[in-house]
Symmetry: C2
């Protein structure tokens, strides 16, 4: 139930966003824990009432905190990133859309302030992250249901905790679930500088896999190449280089990848071309808004497999305990120094417009993280 006074008046009765979704994917409003009030509010949140350009539809609003019921958890948000999927969700281009109006943000870390009498798994002081997308993390405080949260160890860096629940999880599952890779095997990916891309480089390196990382040509290419290599990237090539015949000699020294990870669309043609026979290309995003194109002979004679990955679907298909296990596996990598947060720019919540703009610009190499 969405009950904050000012926003209720602007809610579209038809809840347009929901029409795009099958019944099973609808969920209750992201901010069900707010109560109506005409009083001045102490909670600030980034709210959108309809889909569109984030810079135009997102507004900083004051909301009042709901009372903490028996199974509720009062959380003070600490930091929340702006991910491409957050932007797509606001634009209405996502496989899961919340009822509107909604608080933006699907990821982030908060600290528990207080818990209801029936809460057993979380206590004040704990760090928590969303169990599922659609929670609305771009706000200073909230009251959530216990089942909407999972705890994370508070001995990892704040930026790592804030960016743990989506991109590293996606990277890990794609590296593990599609091809049985062994140390020494190679994988190829585009969008290598994205949050997922950086996590792929690090998790692959920790597992002894070689990464071939494709980047669009850009002004700061050398600097970025150095940074990715510092993370553990074995090879960094531009899209242009990938198209050249010289790549043939490259693959004399490097085993042809059995797994390709695609988040761009455009350069997926080249990823497919360099995949080993029987290999799999997993698409997890579509930054260039272009479809994936495979030749008939690649499918038939080369036996290439085209798949997609969506962490939300993975969570639906797996138990909360399996998700918690995944989080703990990643925390182990963080503690061992094998997985760091992507390069981040921390931006105070009230400067959200700058952060939204920066996160939709091409070639911005750092993730925008809202701090509360």
């Amino acid at each position: 139930m969405w009950v904050c006074g000012a926003l209720c008046r602007t809610r579209a009765p038809a809840q347009l966003g929901q029409r795009l979704l099958p019944e099973s994917r609808r969920r209750r409003p992201a901010s069900a824990s707010f109560s109506a009030s005409a009083e001045p509010s102490r909670v600030r949140a980034l709210v959108y009432g309809h889909h569109g350009d984030p810079a135009k539809v997102v507004e900083l609003k004051n909301l009042e905190l709901a009372a903490v019921g028996g199974s509720d958890v009062h959380v003070k948000m600490l930091a929340a990133p702006i991910n491409p999927s957050d932007i797509n969700m606001i634009q209405g281009n996502y496989g899961l859309l919340p009822q509107l109006p909604a608080v933006g943000g699907n990821e982030g870390v908060g600290q528990v302030v207080a818990v209801g009498s029936g809460v057993t798994g979380v206590k004040p002081g704990d760090w928590v992250i969303p169990a599922n997308p659609g929670l609305g993390t771009w706000r200073t405080e909230a009251v959530f249901g216990e089942e909407e949260l999972i705890t994370v160890p508070s001995d990892i860096p704040l930026q790592s905790a804030a960016t743990l629940g989506v991109n590293p999880c996606t990277a890990y599952r794609m590296l593990v679930d599609f091809e049985r890779l062994r140390p020494g095997d190679s994988i190829i990916q585009n969008a290598s500088n994205s949050g997922v891309g950086q996590a792929v480089i690090q998790i692959a390196a920790a597992r002894g896999l070689r990464t071939i990382n494709v980047l669009r040509d850009r002004p700061d290419l050398q600097k970025l190449t150095d940074r990715l290599k510092n993370l553990g990237a074995n090879h960094v090539v531009t899209e242009e280089e990938l198209r050249k015949p010289e790549m043939k000699s490259f693959f004399k020294d490097v085993p042809q990848p059995r797994l390709a990870l695609n988040c761009v669309g455009k350069s997926s043609t080249e990823l497919l071309r360099h995949l080993a026979p029987g290999g799999t290309m997993v698409t997890y995003g579509g930054m260039a808004k272009q479809p994936v194109i495979a030749s008939v002979s690649q499918l038939i004679f080369k036996d290439l497999k085209l798949r997609g990955f969506w962490l939300s679907q993975w969570k639906k298909d797996h138990s909360p305990d399996q998700f918690k296990e995944l989080i703990l596996t990643l925390c182990d990598l963080i503690r061992r120094g094998q997985l760091t947060a992507p390069a981040c720019s921390e931006v105070p919540l009230q400067d959200y417009l700058c952060a939204l703009e920066a996160s939709t610009q091409p070639f911005v190499s750092s993730k925008q993280i809202l701090t509360m």
Copy 2:
């Protein structure tokens, strides 16, 4: 060893076709069992010395039969079809190309005339079909190695035996190996009137699966629709109908297919659109020479899987006994009347030009079978 006199003189030293293939896919010449002779030959064969338009490069030649060695089998060919893959192989557009010159044809049935002293699994009178592609079946007689042949029961119709080893095998494997389908589930396919398409209809019906069969619009549509329904097709729709919004109501009564079989390319977009979430599209041919295009959201949010199937690869990955088991399973269906040969036009070997032409025309609804 390719040793027939006239052809040896025209063999290109570089064996161009082989350059396109990885070492593992190269095989010995399709007609290794012929011996050189300047005498008039009693074996007639359809031979091509270079790749190109089949009507231009294929010639009827006289060859002499080799002596029958210890592990050899002398076979009199009875009937051999012209399949799309035969045409592609002659054109040079196939994943497996024989050394040139080569005898055309990859499928067919012959009767054993005599066997070498070391042959144990085949005896005179048996019917045999090729164990692998590239045998060169468009000829009146040949001496093959025992391992190049497998026996088939001779109590099935000749046309069924001649067309058993490629299309029904492809249809069966695609229906069984990609999605776990249960009676009542539906599948969708294009090129429904092809050899594979007709086998899919019948094998699916025998397994209690509902088929949605897509055809290009054509002059004799009603007649063809009736014929496919007689084979067991549940639904026949044209490509144009498939694109219409009315198809939504169609899927109120028919379960969305979890498996799509694509041999066209062009209408694969519509197949993907109608697939159930999590479903698989298997591409096994590319009649329209167009790539397969999938949207990023179909891959990610709908979790569609794009795969390919090539029977030659399946055979490489499985034992000869597994192939024999598959053949016997199909023979059981034939004996029960659940699997018939596609509509065939029998054409004497010397009239091969008419048969080649007919087999490359659009909308020719019967398979050309060469008889010897």
